[in-house]
Symmetry: C2
């Protein structure tokens, strides 16, 4: 069944919490019927989210008769189900819509929602639900496939978007490249992947390795990174991905103007150079790799001189290609990966 | 109800997999009625495990009439339930024993075992089962409590034993010190703790922080480390503990003679100096701390000259106190912690 999505943002439309909605609007607009957010009703998705063009933002379920699935378009700290969206979910179930959710709080474990869904005969799709139980083996990894991973200095800086754009860019450069999703939004877009941040601790590295084994028949895989190696909450997820995927090269993502940890404003993000060094140090014992390019996220900046200056400053400081994949396109990063591929091949791998 | 334990090792008595059995025999011998292992039956625990004195090793359940609980005394890679122990579990249930297990494969999720337990009216205690759902906050952490964490260069090198012995040693030095358990065996011994390696990825750091908040009314906490920051399978667990607990000092544990990763013999463990550096680098961005002492595990070495030479070599190389807490007692590490406490107090914290 093709999804015809109604995306719920419910009061969070203009915050970073709506990142799931924004990404679905950006990469799967053909599947989106409307966005449900009473505070923004009457506008278009393009006006509210900057993506999604004329897709309407509506104030009530009745205005989206075509939809067959309500997709929860917000990400919450800890993945809890906010009380404010519960009535909309129950109403959608009552109208026969399936529900797709990337929250940690599984809808199928919520008695009220589960009973309503059963009564209405609709499906609850908890994208983060998984039963991963394999430990990493470090066997059978095929270095003929070039593994690139996006990493970041914080959450919500664009690691998924950069990975998608870079994989697309590599395909434009005639490589058989694949985007490998590791988070709920990436999985909703790609239709495959493993929600690494919801895997039981001992199996994080193993789940990451499984993704590598599943995709290494391609020439190139671009793996979506998670969180940050210095993130007070989620650093374990980041290291598990790094040690499970054994990338050949990293793309460092950061947001211009972000100084404090997203959602933990009392904490300062360490300098970018320190974080780059830590990624390289953490990768070194098992599979040394370097940061080969930097992705700036300039979504909240309008001053083009400021963006140009920052791009130059970062390029000069780190001696690496730098771009905002949305504003400038991924060309500079594609070039960096192609050059890295050439360099590795001259050393014998990837072959 | 007081536990009267029958510990099952079933063919793994003389392997590292029996580490749960060995630790219960070492720290809770008063609760152990017997060890069940037909291959070793007729000997004493002291003869087979080196600990547990005259506690008998028996070949059949009938020989342990006093026991009220069968404790699964082996740890398996990935925490799976080995087929070889299933008959013994079912037989014990049939005889009315409760079952205590630290495996990832929960007994209560195993239909055959669950049904048998229900029919017999016995309890299944899955020590790793948890519902941790709190993210770290980095608020309200009390630096008046000195936090020491054991870390290692691999799994099964003695991080739990060192933490227990060090906490005991600190109490002998008139400190109000507590051992904080983070793994199934530690929890079985201590009766409290969180099985960090079985927490859902996004909540690892938060669960570690919760342990800190629960125990910081003591003067000193010694936190049991898990795995290793360079472990191909479990490094994510290690980093989550480090970033969630924010220790003031680390004790590095390793086993003399271990060159390859336990259970992954095709992989070499990096040099100790590199691993020490990586722990300190990984701690630095959020809460800098140093390795302040080293614990050698010499369980498989009998040549006392070799042990003496290694101790000197490590002391000379790293300029740190070194001992085997079982062979030499924890005195050198206690002294290291006391000196570290004095140094930190002279700098204003812990106060």
């Amino acid at each position: 069944m093709n999804r015809r999505l109604l995306i719920l943002t419910q009061g969070h439309a203009r915050t970073l919490k709506a990142k799931t909605a924004v990404s679905l609007l950006r990469y799967r607009p053909d599947q989106v019927v409307a966005v449900l957010d009473p505070d923004q009703a009457g506008q278009t998705a393009g006006e509210v989210f900057g993506v999604g063009g004329d897709i309407p933002v509506i104030g009530s379920l009745d205005q989206a008769q075509d939809a067959n699935t309500l997709l929860i378009g917000i990400a919450t700290p800890g993945g809890v189900l906010p009380d404010v969206i519960r009535p909309a979910i129950l109403e959608a179930i009552g109208k026969g819509l399936n529900i797709e959710s990337g929250l940690h709080a599984f809808l199928c474990d919520d008695p009220e929602i589960q009973q309503a869904a059963q009564a209405a005969g609709v499906l609850l799709n908890d994208v983060r639900k998984n039963d991963e139980r394999d430990v990493a083996q470090r066997n059978d990894i095929n270095d003929a496939c070039l593994r690139i991973q996006t990493v970041g200095n914080d959450c919500s800086v664009g690691k998924m978007v950069v990975a998608i754009e870079l994989a697309d860019g590599m395909r434009s450069a005639d490589r058989d490249a694949v985007f490998v999703a590791t988070g709920q939004t990436g999985i909703m877009i790609q239709g495959s992947g493993i929600p690494i941040d919801c895997v039981v601790a001992d199996f994080i590295n193993g789940a990451a390795e499984k993704l590598v084994l599943q995709h290494q028949h391609h020439q190139v895989m671009v793996i979506e990174g998670q969180a940050s190696l210095v993130h007070p909450r989620y650093s374990s997820v980041t290291l598990g991905l790094l040690h499970g995927c054994l990338p050949h090269g990293l793309i460092m993502c950061y947001e211009l103007g972000r100084e404090n940890v997203y959602g933990m404003e009392h904490l300062t993000i360490p300098p970018l150079g320190e974080i780059i060094r830590l990624y390289e140090q953490a990768a070194a014992p098992g599979h040394p790799c370097k940061v080969i390019g930097i992705a700036i996220n300039t979504r909240h900046v309008t001053d083009s001189t400021k963006i140009k200056d920052e791009r130059k400053r970062i390029r000069d400081t780190f001696g690496l290609p730098v771009c905002d994949v949305i504003r400038h396109g991924p060309g500079d990063l594609v070039q960096a990966v192609l050059e890295h591929e050439t360099k590795l091949r001259s050393q014998g791998a990837p072959t």
